[in-house]
């Protein structure tokens, strides 16, 4: 099983290729191939997990070179340790559920086959990302999941908001990747490799200076900030809800956005090598978590509430991992790593469930606005029950899975007072807004009778995944029980970083966490179910704050004003610069040459050509006189020849005599010639 684990991503890749090139025209076959591939992948993943459990989590690695150079080795390979195995199973499960669910949800969509091919491509990329054994390869798949996310967010691209959201997601992620790439390049430069284990060995051996390690840690974390929608790059995630709901469940809740958290956990040795980097991570996690939770309090779109909740929960995990890093750097014991990774798993299940439940509701009432819903419990039994399970789970109520993981995060933060308060506050808000959502959607009386009347329970293909995920939302957390269970040790003994350490449950913290969650639910119940206090009245009282939160802290507007518009303006200015200044210079050179040529032409005409013509004129003038010698009379020519021949002979005898003779001859000749000229032409003989 382990040796062939590389096949797990290959199944969906195969499905993608087959659908795109061959079966696109056959919708049923396409979806069957896609689902078949992921189910095989699921079975294989479970096999890998079991194999790994049976060898007590001993990691397995294979790699082949991608490009080999004296200094740089880029490789592709797989690294399977407990974290990988768990993630493989989680991704495969959620992916299978979502694909089955999509059969119902996407029913009748004209681009059905393409939808499934994209899902397969996504699953391939995500599984590849999880199975990678080095930072270079994780980055490749990192970008590929970004691509599929782009394609799926913009799946209904006729909607302007959807295509905008896809673009925003991609570009925002690219900004994070900007840091990520530089981080990886720094790893190549300072560790000489990107392979996890080699990098970790170098870091542990202290081969990288602390300052550089901090820089690498923060830059790598930039990637996670983008992908896991952490502040300040969280803005794309809520907009990404423009995609089909199953996509939101799979990509923007359970798996892809978890990739950032996964990467932080995977590279923990690097991050934990620097207390500063870890602190940054923890603080960013806390800020995101808090900010998203406050925004979620006021949203009215069911998917946006869930999106902000996702943001908030991811912040939670990031914070836990960051705190672990801080503690690790200071050689303190911490459960943060376990808490973060464990929450990653449980969150995947219950958040996928929440989204699929929300999708089921939207499918029934055709609106996203929770104030148009209400009382749906009576119409949608399975959906409401599973949704409630997920809400209880996320609120941290025992024995639901969220309780186990959330409790560990509380434990992890308990040694850091500031974070501890934040954690509890967020836990309270989470429970409050989740139940606000639940009560407004499923309880009370219908606020839009028309929509209520047309509501109905979703088909089996949609409810079945809800049930499966409902089960997992309850029981997945039980793997975190801190004792042996059927001969298997708990999650904390399977997935850990560094040395295995014993965790002792703290019943006091457990109680606090439950009480906080419970009180959140209670307040929500009082306001939205019992209507003990009017929500409108509360809203009126804190209107400025409400407005601030409802508008998402005005961060989008801030970015629009400070980054996007200036960039576009700069682009236009540069374009103007290019067309007028640089090209202007080139054209000026051309123009100048032409003008110069014109000037040269004048020079040419009057001076150079003048000189040439001048010579001509002189010749003409000379020839005017000389032509008179050309009498046309043969006897005259003969006379000249004879006179000259005599002169030559004479010259041999006496040169002076020859000259005198010639002068005399010329005089006689000239006189004769002139006399001939003076004489009028004889008339032509008839």
């Amino acid at each position: 099983m382990l040796e062939t684990a590389y096949l797990i991503p290959v199944y969906p890749l195969f499905a993608f290729t087959v659908i795109i090139f061959f079966t696109r025209w056959n919708e049923k076959l396409s979806s069957a191939i896609s689902i078949g591939a992921i189910l095989i992948g699921l079975v294989h993943s479970v096999g890998v997990l079991l194999a790994l459990i049976s060898r007590h989590g001993l990691p397995y690695e294979v790699s082949v070179p991608f490009i080999q150079h004296p200094k740089i080795l880029l490789e592709v390979g797989m690294w399977i340790d407990p974290l990988t195995a768990v993630m493989l199973v989680v991704v495969a499960i959620v992916s299978s559920c979502v694909q089955v669910y999509s059969l119902g949800y996407m029913h009748g969509d004209p681009r059905w086959s393409r939808y499934f091919s994209y899902l397969s491509l996504f699953t391939f990329s995500m599984l590849g990302l999880v199975i990678s054994n080095n930072f270079f390869m994780i980055f490749m798949f990192w970008e590929l999941v970004g691509l599929t996310s782009y394609l799926l967010i913009g799946f209904w691209f006729e909607k302007k908001t959807a295509s905008d959201a896809g673009k925003k997601a991609f570009i925002t992620n690219r900004i994070g990747d900007f840091g990520f790439i530089i981080g990886i390049i720094l790893l190549f430069a300072y560790a000489g490799t990107a392979n996890y284990q080699e990098v970790f060995a170098k870091v542990s051996a202290g081969a990288i200076s602390p300052g550089m390690l901090t820089a690498i840690g923060i830059l790598l974390f930039c990637g996670a900030v983008g992908k896991s929608a952490q502040f300040p790059l969280h803005v794309w995630l809520p907009d990404a809800m423009e995609g089909p709901t199953p996509v939101s469940a799979l990509i923007h809740a359970a798996t892809m956005v978890a990739a950032g958290v996964y990467m932080v956990a995977r590279g923990m040795t690097v991050f934990a090598g620097s207390a500063e980097a870890s602190t940054v991570i923890a603080v960013i996690g806390l800020i995101t978590s808090f900010m998203a939770a406050t925004i979620a309090l006021t949203q009215v779109d069911i998917k946006r509430v869930l999106a902000y909740s996702t943001c908030s929960q991811l912040g939670y995990m990031i914070m836990a991992l960051g705190l672990y890093g801080v503690d690790y750097a200071h050689h303190h014991h911490s459960v943060g790593y376990y808490a973060g990774t464990f929450h990653l798993m449980t969150h995947a299940f219950f958040k996928a469930l929440l989204f699929l439940g929300a999708g089921s509701v939207i499918h029934a009432v055709h609106t996203n606005d929770i104030f148009e819903m209400g009382g749906l419990r009576k119409k949608m039994n399975i959906t409401s029950i599973t949704f409630l399970i997920a809400c209880l789970s996320i609120s941290g109520i025992p024995p639901f899975s969220g309780f186990f993981s959330k409790d560990e995060i509380v434990v992890a933060s308990s040694t850091h007072p500031f974070f501890f308060v934040g954690t509890l506050l967020i836990a309270f808000m989470t429970a409050f807004y989740m139940f606000r959502l639940y009560f407004l959607t499923f309880e009370g009386s219908p606020r839009n009778q028309h929509k209520y009347d047309h509501a109905h329970e979703s088909p089996t293909s949609m409810t079945l995944p809800l049930i499966v995920l409902g089960f997992l939302s309850i029981f997945a957390g039980w793997t975190g029980l801190p004792f042996e269970w059927f001969g298997l040790t708990g999650f904390s003994h399977f997935v850990y970083h560094g040395e295995l350490a014993e965790h002792h449950p703290s019943y006091l913290l457990m109680a606090i966490s439950v009480v906080v969650g419970g009180s959140g639910i209670l307040f929500s119940y009082l306001i939205y179910k019992r209507k003990a206090w009017s929500s409108e009245a509360i809203k009126a009282k804190v209107l400025p704050i409400q407005k601030f939160l409802f508008n998402k802290w005005y961060i989008d507007e801030l970015y629009e004003a400070t980054i996007i518009q200036p960039t576009l303006t700069l682009a236009r200015k540069l374009w103007w610069f290019d067309a007028s200044v640089i090209d202007g210079m080139v054209n000026f050179a051309g123009w100048f040459t032409v003008k110069w040529a014109d000037a040269k032409e004048l020079f040419d005409k009057y001076i150079i050509d003048g000189a040439v013509n001048g010579i001509g004129h002189v010749c003409m003038a000379g020839s005017f006189f000389l032509r008179f010698i050309q009498t046309g009379k043969v006897q005259f020519y003969a006379l000249v020849i004879i006179v000259t021949s005599v002169a030559v002979v004479l010259y041999k005898v006496t040169p002076q005599g020859a000259i005198i003779y010639l002068v005399l001859a010329l005089i006689v000749g000239g006189v004769g010639l002139l006399s001939r000229l003076a004489r009028p032409e004889r008339a032509e003989t008839d």
Partner: protein, 501 residues
């Protein structure tokens, strides 16, 4: 096979083709088209064979292979007919053979003066192939200039509305550069003892007989000649004009092969011949590359014309090559440069082909005029998105491999300023994503205007055939870059050592 002068055949078959086409009756369009296609198909096969044979037999060494000559050609000035290829020219030959064939195939829809068009195209192909094989300066220069003339006519006769302006600008600008090159060649000729024009000999001897100042001067002269061709910022403004006005196939050749000649010339001639000058100018060159990357990307963002956007993206992408060339100490960076040349040839070539496909149908390239085309032309959109993604450096495609190697190579080159320059250059990746996705969104996504574009037809089989090989190669290099890098490795290592002299 050893004695078979394969390079000569490769270069001269298109020339023979041009002669044959010239004697065909001009009314028989199909005869002209298919004959031209045949005469570009044969050299393509020959370049494939060279690549194949080179890869399996000679990859490990840095020498020249398939050498022909030196045969004395113009004895009084020591001009020899001398051809040969090594690890950096073989991929270029491959690219030229392939792109020429595809361009001729994509030119079947030319209707105006068909015969002349193909004659010029074959002449152009012969010139390009010659440049990549020539090992004698005279020969090199002759081929270099031979290319210009058909290019001038191809743009000037079959181009768009401002074709005369673009053609003259291209011709004069390039000629301006080559004059400097000629002067530098003469300096080398008269400086060497005995006077020679052989490129391999001059690579060995030039650093010994040139003074430092002379090296800098010769380098600068060659640089002007090559930089205009690349084009390096700020010599780039002929490019958008030429691209926008040129017919599709000519744009493909222009972007795919002609631009590469600049960087090829630098790698073949300037860099190994003037090592001191390279060291002296390395940082300014990298900064020019950086400016081209960022500036080209931002200017692309502001474009309203689809073809102009792709043209400016070329400026940005060739900037990566310049950045890598600046990092002369790193084998990885130079390999990245070669990868970038090849992948840019494939990707931008394909983008121009695709833009041409849309232009043939819609008769406009105005980005704002479109929208929602994706609903009507799914296959076309798929291809266009694929190549846009490749262009913005998505992993799994060749652009990513090359950009990443350029970054890693220049960052680890050991020259201090390069760390900063590289870090800034990575910003180009973000900007590229910005303009490419904006373009994709505005052309392909959104509401489809049925009234206006209802008549658009899907990309046809011939057009798919022209881009499919490029797509396959782009993805193949993206997933399996090792063969290509192994092929060039020995040559590039040797090159880096020559520069390090």
């Amino acid at each position: 096979m050893v004695d078979f002068p394969i390079l000569t055949y490769t270069i001269f078959i298109p020339l023979i083709g041009a002669a044959v086409v010239m004697f065909l009756p001009k009314e028989r369009l199909n005869a002209v088209r298919w004959t031209s296609l045949f005469f570009s198909f044969v050299p393509m096969l020959l370049t494939f064979w060279i690549t194949w044979d080179y890869f399996f037999n000679f990859s490990g060494t840095a020498d020249f292979y398939y050498t022909e000559g030196p045969v004395s050609w113009i004895a009084p000035i020591n001009v020899y007919y001398h051809l040969g290829v090594d690890g950096i020219s073989v991929p270029m030959l491959f690219l030229t053979g392939l792109l020429s064939f595809l361009s001729i195939l994509s030119s079947f829809n030319i209707v105006n003066r068909v015969k002349e068009y193909f004659v010029f195209f074959l002449l152009l192909e012969a010139g390009m192939l010659g440049v990549f094989c020539a090992l004698d300066f005279f020969l090199f220069y002759v081929f270099w200039e031979v290319m210009l003339v058909p290019m001038y006519f191809l743009i000037g006769v079959w181009g768009g509305p401002r074709k005369e302006y673009a053609a003259i600008k291209f011709f004069l600008y390039t000629l301006f550069g080559s004059i400097f090159m000629l002067v530098a060649i003469l300096i080398l000729y008269f400086g060497s003892e005995p006077s020679t024009l052989s490129i391999p000999e001059l690579i060995n001897s030039a650093p010994t007989f040139l003074t430092h100042g002379m090296q800098l001067l010769c380098f600068a002269f060659f640089f002007v000649g090559f930089a205009i061709k690349v084009p390096v910022w700020p010599f780039h403004t002929w490019l958008p004009d030429a691209h926008v006005e040129a017919p599709t196939a000519v744009s493909v050749i222009l972007a795919g092969v002609l631009l590469k000649m600049g960087t090829y010339g630098m790698l073949r001639i300037s860099w190994p011949m003037f090592p001191d000058a390279v060291k002296f100018f390395s940082i300014p060159i990298a900064i020019l590359g950086l400016i081209a990357i960022i500036y080209g990307a931002l200017v692309s963002m502001a474009q309203k014309d689809l073809k102009k956007l792709v043209a400016y993206s070329s400026v940005s992408h060739m900037g990566y090559c310049m950045l890598a060339l600046g990092a002369f100490t790193s084998v990885t960076a130079i390999t990245g440069c070669m990868f970038q040349m090849i992948s840019h040839g494939l990707i931008t070539g394909a983008l121009f082909l695709l833009v041409g496909v849309l232009y043939d149908r819609a008769h406009t390239r105005e980005i704002a005029a479109f929208g929602g085309i994706g609903a009507k032309l799914p296959v076309y959109t798929g291809l266009m998105v694929l190549f846009s993604m490749a262009s913005l450096g998505l992993p799994g495609m060749s652009g990513f491999v090359s950009e990443f190697m350029v970054f890693v190579g220049s960052f680890t080159s050991g020259i201090v300023w390069f760390k900063l320059i590289t870090a800034l250059a990575v910003l180009g990746v973000v900007l590229t994503a910005g303009y490419m996705l904006r373009m994709v969104q505005r052309v392909f996504l959104g509401e489809f205007n049925t009234a206006k574009w209802g008549g658009l037809t899907e990309i046809n089989a011939r057009e798919v055939i022209t881009v499919a090989p490029l797509a396959v190669l782009t993805i193949a290099i993206g997933f399996f870059p090792a063969p290509l890098s192994n092929m060039m490795k020995a040559t590039i290592e040797n090159l880096v050592q020559l520069i390090a002299r």
